[in-house]
């Protein structure tokens, strides 16, 4: 019983991490049609900013709060300077964002060296339920992920910003004709997606520690999750992330980890092949 509970918690917490990382990726892919290869590096930057705050002696949570804003601002600038040129060609966008990611990743590698730098958990210790112990920080991540998910959903579905964003996605020329500044909306969407990646990086760095390939580790899982969930909506990629995260965490409990690792990808690609629109088809929220 206790074992099953611990396993369930592990699976849930890994699923939450994947969802957190995919949120930004999914918003950028769904709303803008760009598969952002630099997303992993935005996660890395979020983690790096958190580490910097810790290394400077500031409380860790200040870094965690600052990370989304700084990474979001960087995303806004990059969109205006570079990403904007790629909208017409999705493959070129992949290559361009890959180059961007390479620059960011190698710069961070230069800054931190080849080390694994640990950042302590801001909320340490464990939560005890009877004889079972679960990590307090992982539990916090699950809670924050849920909050961020609900927050994003409300932002996109209930606010005028979200409405304009969706309008820009569905019919850019009509949106422009209605007086919505589509370039600004694209910039804001990209910045928002980057900020979510920054937040994800800040939250997961105590769990995985900081190293240069931290972001890229999740990138392909993220892409697969977005495709499985379905590009075009907000909820699709989140659902995909839930499925992929849960599967990748759950399968190693029942079979050899190597087989499980590969099986998740094979299943996902086969699924996308036969259902290209993904789990949840359609545009909108």
């Amino acid at each position: 019983m206790a074992n099953a509970f611990v396993a369930a918690f592990e699976i849930l917490s890994f699923g939450a991490i994947i969802v957190l990382i995919v949120l930004g990726l999914g918003i950028i892919a769904s709303m803008m049609g760009i598969f952002n290869f630099a997303q992993g590096e935005f996660v890395l930057l979020g983690a790096y900013i958190t580490y910097l705050a810790y290394a400077k002696g500031l409380p860790i949570w200040t870094g965690m709060v600052a990370a989304p804003f700084l990474v979001g601002a960087l995303g806004f600038v990059l969109e205006a300077l570079i990403i904007r040129r790629f909208y017409a060609a999705p493959i070129v966008a992949m290559l361009g964002t890959y180059a961007l990611g390479l620059i960011i990743r190698e710069s961070v590698r230069g800054l931190i060296g080849g080390f694994y730098l640990t950042v302590p958990e801001p909320i340490g210790g464990s939560i005890d339920i009877g004889t079972m112990h679960i990590s307090a920080w992982r539990f916090t991540i699950i809670v924050i992920t849920l909050l961020v998910m609900v927050g994003c959903y409300l932002l996109l579905s209930r606010t005028s910003f979200g409405l304009r964003m969706r309008a820009t996605l569905e019919n850019p020329s009509l949106a422009r004709a209605s007086g919505i500044s589509t370039p600004l909306m694209y910039g804001a969407t990209f910045a928002f997606g980057s900020a979510l990646a920054g937040l994800a990086g800040a939250l997961i760095v105590p769990v995985f520690s900081l190293y240069a390939d931290l972001g890229i580790r999740f990138l392909i899982q993220g892409f697969v999750a977005v495709m499985v969930g379905g590009v075009g909506s907000f909820i699709g990629p989140v659902a995909g992330a839930g499925v992929i995260g849960t599967l990748s965490a759950a399968l190693p409990w029942v079979m050899a980890p190597v087989v499980a690792d590969v099986l998740v990808f094979v299943l996902a690609i086969a699924f996308i092949k036969f259902r290209p629109q993904g789990l949840i088809a359609g545009k909108g929220v």
Binding site: L95, Y98, A99, E106, G110, A268, K273
Partner: protein, 367 residues
């Protein structure tokens, strides 16, 4: 000369416009283009001569490095066929390169097969088989796959193979398979050095000429049309997905050949060889050199590897950053790669079919 350059520039938008415009532009520029068309053979000739004399000029350890570069150029060629000619973004080309490398390494380790006439065909066959399987799955089917799906599918395949190689004890796990026995021909062992270099160069030249022939045939013409406008080619009655699968398989076979040579040259294989790192490396080569020209892929591989070798002594840390910056600049401002500095669009697209000259003369006579 400036006048002819102008004429060629005019021809570019006309060609995109449609067949009639293209035919008209062709008539106008036929004479100038004949003069222009000499650049590509010239570049190829220079590259060939440079490659032939290299071992005499270079020191021994540089010849070993040059051999590696030639193998990687062969690998770049395979990606160029798939992306530069057919417009299929294969982010997982290393899957075929690396799996062939692992395959021949296993042949050498477990079965003691190192005969060159067995291992190289075996490697090619492994690459071909994997490419047929993956390409067939990704590209064929009732609904045409989106470009995004194909590129992410190949990327995922490569990543999954990397993870499998890392975790599978039989394949050596993280360390890969070390100290592969050298390739043999009868009693002769190919070890690093000039002999290996010329072997690899010979293979590259043969493959290059085959590709050149293929890309200048009707098949190549159909591929170029596919890259420019898939729907139009489909309306012409071509089975677009079959064309794609065929070129993907050919690319996989060449990558497999390169991979088996690489495994024997380096003497070991390791998980990165099937993974995303090498997959993106080959994308870099072709983008730098110039996709859609065979020589561009070769030049790209030579330049990227050469510069990184040269810089890695002093600037090891910042070289990847410079590489990223350069790549970004190339994508933004020179999407056709470095070769486009010397090669016009007219010549890059080139002429197709059996006897382009005759038809052109007829057309000229008609007008």
């Amino acid at each position: 000369m400036p006048k002819s350059m102008g004429a060629v520039k005019q021809a570019i938008p006309a060609e995109i416009g449609g067949e009639t415009d293209a035919a008209m532009a062709e008539r106008e520029t036929a004479a100038q283009a004949a003069a222009e068309r000499k650049i590509l053979p010239f570049v190829e000739g220079v590259a060939l001569v440079a490659a032939l004399v290299a071992p005499f000029v270079l020191q021994d350890y540089l010849t070993v490095f040059a051999t590696r570069v030639i193998i990687l150029a062969l690998f770049a060629l395979s990606f160029d066929l798939v992306w530069g000619y057919a417009g299929i973004m294969s982010f997982g080309q290393a899957l075929f390169f690396g799996s062939a490398g692992y395959g021949v390494a296993l042949l050498a380790r477990d079965l003691d097969i190192t005969n060159i006439f067995l291992v190289l065909p075996a490697g090619t066959l492994i690459g071909l088989t994997f490419a047929l399987l993956l390409g067939g799955f990704l590209l064929l089917g009732r609904h045409p796959s989106s470009v995004i799906f194909v590129s992410l599918g190949t990327l995922t395949g490569s990543y999954a193979a990397d993870r499998l190689a890392r975790g599978w004890y039989y394949l050596g796990g993280q360390n890969g398979i070390p100290s592969i026995a050298p390739m043999t021909l009868g009693g002769y062992e190919f070890s690093e050095g000039p002999a290996f270099y010329y072997l690899v160069l010979g293979i590259l030249i043969v493959v290059y000429l085959l590709c050149r022939f293929l890309m200048r045939s009707q098949f190549g013409l159909a591929l170029a049309g596919l890259r420019e406008n898939e729907q139009r080619i489909a309306f012409f009655g071509y089975k677009v997905q079959h064309l794609k699968a065929i070129i993907f398989a050919i690319g996989g076979a060449i990558a497999g050949l390169a991979g088996s040579l690489y495994a024997f040259h380096e003497g070991f294989v390791w998980p990165n060889m099937v993974g995303v790192v090498v997959s993106t490396q080959v994308v870099l080569y072709v983008l730098f050199g110039g996709s859609g020209t065979l020589i561009g892929a070769v030049i790209g591989a030579v330049i990227v590897e050469g510069v990184s070798f040269w810089l890695s002594d002093n600037y090891r840390d910042i070289w990847p950053i410079i590489l990223g910056l350069l790549l970004l600049l190339v994508i933004l401002f020179r999407p056709l790669g470095l070769i486009s500095f010397v090669l016009g669009e007219r010549e890059r697209v080139g002429s197709f079919g059996a006897k382009p000259k005759e038809t052109k003369e007829k057309r000229n006579a008609a007008s």
